[in-house]
Amino acid sequence: MASIVLAIVYIGGWILSMRIFGYFWKRRKLAINFAEPWFPEHVPRNQYIALLQQSEPEASEVQLTAALLRRAMEDVVRVLSMREDKQILANLVKQGTLGEDIWTQFTLAEKELEAEVMEVIAEANTFKEGWGQSILQTASEMVMHEKTKQLQKEMKTQREDETRKHALKEKNAEAKKEKERAKATEELLKEEEKEKAKAATSSKKK
């Protein structure tokens, strides 16, 4: 009798512990799936798709071309950033500094990006046969060119900063001069007073 109870308790214990393990395992898996995507939302892609679906008035071909170029530019930025991260990430995962789940996430994002790039190339070919071959090259030139254009904004803020700094410096210099001048006049007055006092005492002596 006692041995049957013992066996049931033993088996029951096993089942319970497996259930607990399973519960946590599942939660962990879910956590991986809900993890943040590698890249934020692909805004230019959404804009392009919205523009395609636009009616009354329909988007002109020029506007669609522009939106597709923007989308390709974002893809180029993403491809470059993934290429840069890949080696570092692989090393970190190999060393065990980072978990396998990050690597899974990364490869998933890579595949997604590959599909996105293929889609852009296919879209480009619907505009003009053969454009798909050069759209990415054009887009990467555009990414570089855009960095140069940022200089215009940078220069504007720098101009404001420097003007403010310079004005402040001038003001300080002016204030300093003013102070020195006040001090000098004060000293002069004191000196005069002393002279007067001296003159007074000497006249008294006489």
């Binding site: 995507p37 939302e41 692909h42 805004v43 959404n46 804009q47 798709i49 919205a50 523009l51 636009q54 008035p57 329909e58 988007a59 002109s60 071909e61 020029v62 506007q63 071309t65 522009a66 939106a67 170029l69 923007r70 997604e112 003009k128 454009w131 050069s134 090259q137 054009t138 030139e141 555009m142 570089m144 060119h145 855009e146 960095k147 140069t148 254009k149 200089l151 215009q152 940078e154 220069m155 720098q158 101009r159 420097e162 003007t163 310079h166 410096k169």
Partner: protein
């Protein structure tokens, strides 16, 4: 991946957000300005995207002409007019279509900014001169002229030490540069004269 829908409409041939009719909308967190700029540039080529590396000659000619105007004014000591010409040219150069070669735009802008910086120095507007010279250095670091202008502007602003440093950096890129050597010597002589002058006062 979650895709949020974008609400847009087209008003006056421009892509804008549907709710506020704005090109750049803070409320919708959307900006269509980039698309509209490229579309504007594409219209100039009749919607035909040029192959990679191709450049429309008109813009380059326009910029070159404005630069020449600026140079003529500068040589005739009409610095204000020179600055105006250079500024126009710079604005046109910054508005180059994005697909045109970056290297070309950088070269062009570096020369224009360098010339405008010189004109600003001539008018003793050292803050503007410094900002332009900084731009030149950013665009074309190995070009000693940018460092030379930067040095002149800094010295003009009274930041003599920084100015000397900038000129020395320029000399590293081009040790033969006569104008930097001359300017450096002038400044150093001046400092030396001031130092000895100060001693005599004591």
């Amino acid at each position: 991946m979650a895709t949020s829908t974008v609400n847009l409409s087209i008003v006056n041939d421009k892509v804008v957000c549907a709710d506020h009719q704005a090109e750049v909308c803070d409320k919708c967190h959307q900006s269509f300005a980039d698309i509209n700029t490229i579309a504007r540039h594409l219209k100039a080529t009749n919607g035909q995207l040029p192959p990679p590396g191709a450049v429309l000659p008109q813009r380059s000619q326009q910029i070159a002409k404005m630069r020449e105007d600026g140079n003529t004014h500068f040589r005739a000591q009409r610095h204000q007019e020179a600055i105006a010409s250079y500024t126009n040219a710079i604005n046109v150069a910054f508005d180059r279509p994005l697909w045109e070669p970056t290297q070309l735009a950088r070269e062009e802008l570096a020369v224009l900014l360098c010339n405008r910086s010189a004109a600003y120095i001539a008018r003793k507007e050292y803050v503007n001169a410094l900002v332009d010279a900084d731009g030149v250095v950013e665009l074309k670091r190995p070009w000693s002229k940018g460092h030379f202008r930067r040095g002149r502007a800094l010295i003009g602003l009274g930041r003599t030490e920084e100015g000397i440093e900038a000129m020395r950096l320029g000399l590293m890129f081009d040790p033969e540069s006569a104008e930097i050597q001359k300017a450096l010597k002038e400044v150093e002589d001046k400092i030396a004269a001031e130092a000895t002058g100060g001693d005599e006062d004591k």
